[in-house]
């Protein structure tokens, strides 16, 4: 229950931000950060808990965004229903890619390549076929009403993305304490040993892939509603594959809060660098790349892991200090 209590505290703290902060710039920053955290939390399910590093989560983000936009603009479907369909479609694409890749037994480099290739194929197809608006992209009609998933105030958008992130945190927490989650971690740690113990590794990975894809697709749906425009380089571009992977790795791979912590740190550093230098192109991404290398080198369990290690070390030191004090007073 401590895990859920932590989620409640974090979400409540984040929900209180708009009460204190009225700056639209800052709220916009937080909305985008949480959206990336959501995409990253999706990646974290299959990448962090399952150990299958996908380099093409754009495939799911883009599918969520495009299905939301296409259903609304071409078929007049309600935006909320469109979003639900977008999330489901993301899950289906996850099932297809995961089914093919895991059945073929692709691991590490091969899995990274095949996920990357699927995202690229979708990007190229989306930039050619008419239903996605080809090279022009899709503009979602402005209709600032809650029932069409558009809001006048940024606070409302912020609360929506926060609820989505909260749901994703709960999913990760549930996963950690479920039999399915344990199987998944077993497959990550040693697939052959898990197989020998009777775990159906392919099915477990496939299940995780579907959940993972659906969560990242939800971030895509939100993107479409928030920015009201998507095209192929945005929806299926490498940028989102990289950010979805970067945030949980930096925050703490395979941890409940990893993606949120990672997104907050990464985005703050990126924006901070832009503010200091006056928005020179490339600088924020340079920092992302350097952070990725540094975290893998010096904090393999991410910032959450490094924090836990530091706390454990401090506790040990305190305990031994107390012990020596006791010994001194006794002596």
């Amino acid at each position: 229950m401590r895990g859920y209590a932590a989620i409640v505290v974090v979400v409540a703290l984040l929900a209180a931000v708009p009460l204190v902060v009225h700056s639209n710039v800052l709220l916009n920053f937080l909305v985008v950060t949480l959206m990336i955290a959501l995409a990253g939390q999706g990646w974290n399910i299959i990448g962090g808990y399952g150990g299958q590093y996908s380099f093409g989560h754009a495939a799911f983000f883009g599918t969520g965004a495009y299905v939301t936009a296409i259903l609304q603009m071409r078929y007049g479907v309600n935006a909320w229903l469109g979003c639900a369909a977008g999330i489901a479609a993301g899950g289906v694409v996850g099932a297809i890619i995961g089914g093919l890749a895991f059945r073929a037994g692709l691991r590490t480099s091969y899995f990274a390549l095949v996920t990357l290739a699927f995202a690229e194929v979708l990007r190229i197809v989306a930039s050619v076929v008419p239903i996605t608006g080809a090279g022009v992209g899709i503009l979602i009609k402005l209709d600032l009403r809650a029932q069409s998933f558009q809001f006048q105030s940024r606070t409302a958008f912020y609360l929506v993305i926060l609820s989505l992130v909260a749901a994703a945190l709960v999913i990760a927490q549930k996963l950690e304490h479920s039999r399915f989650g344990t199987w998944l971690v077993a497959v990550r740690e040693n697939e052959d040993a898990a197989l020998a113990l009777g775990v159906d590794a392919t099915r477990v990975k496939l299940g995780a892939m579907v959940i993972s894809a659906a969560i990242t697709a939800a971030a895509g749906c939100f993107y479409a509603q928030y920015f009201l425009f998507i095209d192929a380089p945005i929806a299926y571009g490498a940028w989102i594959s990289i950010e979805a992977l970067l945030t949980p790795i930096i925050g703490g791979v395979g941890t409940v809060f990893g993606a949120v912590v990672g997104a907050l740190v990464v985005k703050s550093l990126g924006e901070g660098a832009k503010l200091m230098t006056g928005d020179v192109p490339g600088l924020d991404l340079m920092i992302y790349g350097a952070m990725l290398v540094l975290v893998v080198a010096f904090a393999p369990r991410g910032l959450v892991g490094a924090f836990a290690d530091a706390r454990a070390r401090l506790m040990r030191r305190l305990a031994s200090a107390r012990k020596s004090v006791v010994e001194v007073t006794r002596g």
Partner: protein, 290 residues
Amino acid sequence: MFSPLILITAVINGLLIGAVYALVALGLTLIYGVLHIINFAHGALLSAALFAAFMAYQKLGIDPYLATFLIAPSFFVLGYALQRFIIGPASHGDDRNMLLVTLGLAVLIENALLYAFRADTRTIDLAYSFKTIDVGFTFLSLPRVISFIAAFVVASVLWLVMTVTDTGKAIRAVAKEKLGAELAGIDVAHVYAITFGLGTACVAIAACLLVPTYYVNPSAGNAFILIAFTIVVLGGMGSVPGALIGGLAIGVVESLSGFFLGESLGQVGIFLIFIVVLLVRPRGLFGASA
């Protein structure tokens, strides 16, 4: 509708560009064969080498073909240092970490180039950029013919290095049996770095051959890297002849599918080959084992 001569020209042009693809893929497959990871920084290193060749011409007035002899050794050293001092120590011997570190380096290098040179696309004008050779029924671009021949020379030299020299033997030993090689007294970290350096030098040579006819910008390398991934997978990861034949084949496929389907959908043909090979025969056409 169209004469077979146009088709033959398309095939020949595909072979010419395919040789450069093969050179990029050669570096990638070499690294995979020994380190067993895909180097995601390969494309960014290609972009960096394109800029190096470009700057050598702009600032120092060195012809790109001559600059090869300067840039290839420098990139060998760069690749050696990257593996020895960054990728190796940072990834703690874990394959997944190695993928992440090369990805991090890719993002870092590409955006450092963007930061330094901005997104502008540049080209250089050389006297021979648009020279052609008359082969009777069609004209071939002179720089492309030169790069075709050079790619084969480089591949042969590399093959010689791998078969004749002690370093080559050590590289092959590490690729086959890392622990055994280590027990036999081979410095594995050094061999890894040498391999990475050789792979990076291949990319540098490819860049020098490309500069006369190709554009330079911070993400120029990415256009090649996905094609190189496809070639490496098609030819079998770690296989040098596989990379050569795969490169030529993909060059022809691209040229023909561009001819029949149009420029952007032509790319899809390559990726579909990529995915099908990955799923059906992940060890590729010439690979020993997946």
